[in-house]
Symmetry: C2
Subunit: 344 residues, 2 copies
């Protein structure tokens, strides 16, 4: 089934005028004088045929496509986008809504390692891009050089000249760990994703270590569990911890979805939460309070993060504002997944 | 910050040739004879400047954009896309992955009432579109007339000439309701979204009614609760049912996310599940087994649904296959949210 679109030639035929005349009228060229009755004939033909101007063609002329790229690098070595993690779903819903209100559509892409952001942006004539969780500075340099408006979300170690939105990840890790210490825990593990040189997981780990040392709790690297931010890794880790006699008394998981899997695996392995082991998450998506037990977690405001990212990239495109680096606060939400230990 | 992309003029300047020559080389025009050393000069300039061909421009020439639209009509009268519902997240992850493997990018759009699918497809030069949960046949007619490959997901009452993927929704409603009857329930409610003339909720309601009448259980329209497929409506309904003395002994919620909210609201209202009221969901996303209590629900295979939708639209674009109408099976997953009633 081939795509048949109404084009200017069809309109010209229908109206009995030249294609050039149709083009002049559609593109509102002021340097051409066209008789009012010709304009009327063409407009009627457009109406009869149901012609819709092609924004791809318009973009070439005006250099504005009104298309934003939402690029999600596959840092976790996963192949599919991680939309089973409700963080991404919530981000997308809010980002798309904000963009739609301002007349922009969203192109979504899980970029692979061999495809740079710049390639996607140029191939698709994107007006601007938002990258969630970027790791490699080199790709960003290409964007800057080419002047493509870009906003970085949850990215670290990048040039501050680009706009960015992030949360206080290190403080989140600190709050979770300090809370566990205040509840009497002294052997505290951290379950996290792939640890790159810089990134949200690395920041949250930094906060965890900072809290331990601030309170004189010894660090033990065997308690750092690094896998993928996924439900599946959580289950796997939970099952293995349940079998291990020298496991910590509490685990800070750097994402709710990881905590959900962890709780599932620990339960499958025969442990009770929080009686046998305590768990703290990170995100506070709407499911956190529905878990059994309800999950104590670090709350971040994903709605605002997404909305601000959309606003910043559109402002950059429309040349309204210079770059901003926004850091949103986090807080700890106490529920039922942590037990108070009596310290001997 | 204005977008500065390398264009043919830049390359021409760099190579010291005319823009027309650059265009002939880039577009591989066989009707022009160009000296090999000129080709080499231009190719080197392209390399130095990091030029990437603009697929928008290419699409105009070849009529293939390798861009698929994933359109999600806002049937629930909500403004934002419903990606907090993990059904959509799971669908998107699998759809994008399948499309990416075959060289397609995804444009995602929550179409508003005043914007037809055809408009979006034409404006964006989409090669094909997948519409999730369409309600209005008129818009589809426009697509058919214009020959734009389209696949309908979770849509009813449409022309069978278009490819479609759905599940056996009516049977899902039947299975859930029959199970509740087999567990001794005689007053069974249904919590669902906005009921259109045709759609997945309407089909699931049909299955519910069919099961009631097949087992001689009287129907009571006051037990049909129609709102939105959302966590929020579930909470609202649960709170109101908890206060109502003549509530049914069991509720079939036509989506897990609705069941999650419902359980939350019922608990907030002081009821225990399943002791005081039983709940069955629909979807069996990965969170269903993590709820307290673990949710008994109708299982559908969203991964396959998304993968098949991507394959069908790409096959139609590449003219590999004529239209297919795929119906995937459903099954009931028994967990802990339903209590066996002793019938007096």
């Amino acid at each position: 089934m081939a795509t048949k679109r109404i084009n200017m030639k069809d309109i010209a035929q229908e109206a009995g005028v030249s294609t050039a005349t149709v083009s002049y009228i559609i593109n509102k060229r002021s340097d051409q004088v066209i008789a009012p009755q010709t304009i009327k004939k063409v407009e009627e033909a457009i109406k009869r045929l149901g012609y819709v101007p092609n924004l791809g063609a318009r973009a070439l002329a005006s250099r504005h496509s009104h298309l934003l790229g939402l690029l999600i690098p596959q840092t976790e070595k996963e192949t599919k986008l991680m939309f089973s993690n409700s963080f991404y779903g919530t981000f997308l819903s809010n980002f798309e809504y904000e963009a739609r209100k301002k007349g922009y559509n969203i192109l979504i892409s899980g970029t692979s390692a061999d495809e740079s952001y710049l390639d996607v942006a140029q191939k698709r004539s994107l007006d601007g891009i938002v990258i969630v969780g970027v790791e490699l500075e080199s790709d960003i340099k290409g964007l800057k050089k080419n002047g493509i408006p870009a906003v970085l979300v949850d990215s670290y170690g990048m040039d501050k000249e680009l706009s960015s939105v992030t949360i206080d990840d290190e403080n989140g890790g600190f709050l979770a760990t300090e809370y566990l210490i205040s509840m009497g825990h002294r052997t505290i593990g951290i379950a996290t994703g792939y640890l790159t040189k810089e990134g949200v997981n690395t920041e949250r780990l930094k906060g965890y270590k900072h809290a331990l040392s601030a309170h004189g709790v010894p660090q033990d690297d065997t308690y750092v569990y690094s896998g993928t931010i996924s439900y599946e890794y959580g289950i796997e880790l939970g099952l293995s911890l349940a079998k291990s006699p020298d496991r910590p008394t509490a685990i800070f998981a750097t994402a709710d979805i990881l905590a959900f899997g962890l709780v599932k695996g620990l339960k499958k392995g025969g442990l009770k939460i929080p009686e046998d082991i305590s768990v703290v998450g990170f995100d506070d998506g709407f499911m956190a309070s529905n878990m059994e037990p309800a999950l104590t977690t670090v709350r971040q405001d994903v709605d605002s993060k997404a909305r601000i990212a959309a606003q910043l990239v559109i402002d950059a495109i429309e040349e309204k504002e210079s770059s901003s680096n926004i850091v949103l606060p986090v807080s700890l939400v106490e529920r039922e997944s942590v037990r108070k230990l009596v310290v001997n």
